[in-house]
Amino acid sequence: MKNPAREKFEPLLSPYVDGELTPEERLQVEQHLQNSKESSAQVADFRAAGAVLRHTLDVEADDVDWKQFADDVMARVTPEKLPFFERVKLTLSEMFLYQRGPLIAGFAGAALAIAVTVPVLWKLTAGAPDGYANSKVEVQTVSVEETSNIRPVVMETDQGDAIIWTLDAKDPRAPAPDGSKDGIKEPKPPAPPESDAQKKKKKAKGEEGEEELITTPKQEGPL
């Protein structure tokens, strides 16, 4: 013959052992266990079985190498690796989607760095600064104010330099108004008399006259 109280409390014994009952139910089950030896024995069996099961699982768990556990799990959940182009495309699209501001700022910064460093490097590596590509100075125009008495004289040296004299008309070194070379006076030692042979040779080479480049430009306009 079955005990009606045991019939009522028997389904609650396993949850009682597992700690799944409310405090009120737990109190009722404990009062029942004081009066029912069968239920108490069943609870003791449940607890013994649980202890054996926990011990068995602990022993099995000790035998397992957990070091690779996370990697193994991730290897199972990670899909197959995408091709390189697809990965780049995906990365860029995600960056544009979620980090557009910093990305554009980064590109702008890189462009700025290139714009600054390239000219600097170019200047450092070039032999001469930009503007000095000529091998000699070339005076293109010389002019003076109409009311001025200044007479400009341009002279280019053998070394490639240029000289612009601005001499007053009264200056004894100034060129003559007709543009002849006599205006600039400088005593020169008299040349030794040439022989006829030397004269003929010089004439053949066309070396008559002075070799110095002395220009007396017009008052305005290019030389």
Binding site: G101, P129, Y132, S135, V144
Partner: protein, 136 residues
């Protein structure tokens, strides 16, 4: 966003609107026929001018490296005159400068390691020269 726009504008201005600039070493030199000292840096100038005038003493009164652009830069001379220098053209690596020392004015092209000697009047009875060269 404003930062990005400002940066883009700066880059654009650097790339597309960069005004050409040419560095020039400018010296104001006083030269006298009286015997005296000539600094080593002016020996080359003394030799160049000796074709017409034999200067016995020379000295640098003022020297500065200028970054020349199209806007004229003024150089005050000790004889109360004022020189004006500007870049008129920069084409294929050759710069053309305009030099104005009233009442004279000249345009010329720069050359590597070469100088232009521009007589800039007189000062204290001596000749005054404006020397334009490539910076060292």
């Amino acid at each position: 966003m404003r930062f990005v726009l400002a940066t883009a504008a700066l880059v654009s201005s650097l790339v597309f609107a960069a005004e050409p600039v040419v560095p020039v070493q400018v010296e104001v030199v006083q030269a006298s026929a009286k015997p005296g000292e000539v600094p080593a840096s002016l020996k080359k100038m003394q030799a160049a001018l000796s074709a017409r005038v034999k200067y016995g003493s020379m000295k640098v009164l003022w020297a500065k490296q200028l970054e020349l652009k199209s806007v004229p830069q003024r150089v005050d001379l000790p004889n109360k005159n004022q020189a004006e220098l500007s870049l008129t053209k920069l084409k294929e690596g050759v710069a053309t400068l305009e030099v104005q020392v009233p009442p004279a004015k000249a345009t010329y092209t720069l050359a590597k390691d070469k100088s232009l000697y521009f007589q800039a009047g007189s000062h204290d009875g001596d000749d005054l020269w404006l020397v334009l060269s490539q910076p060292k």
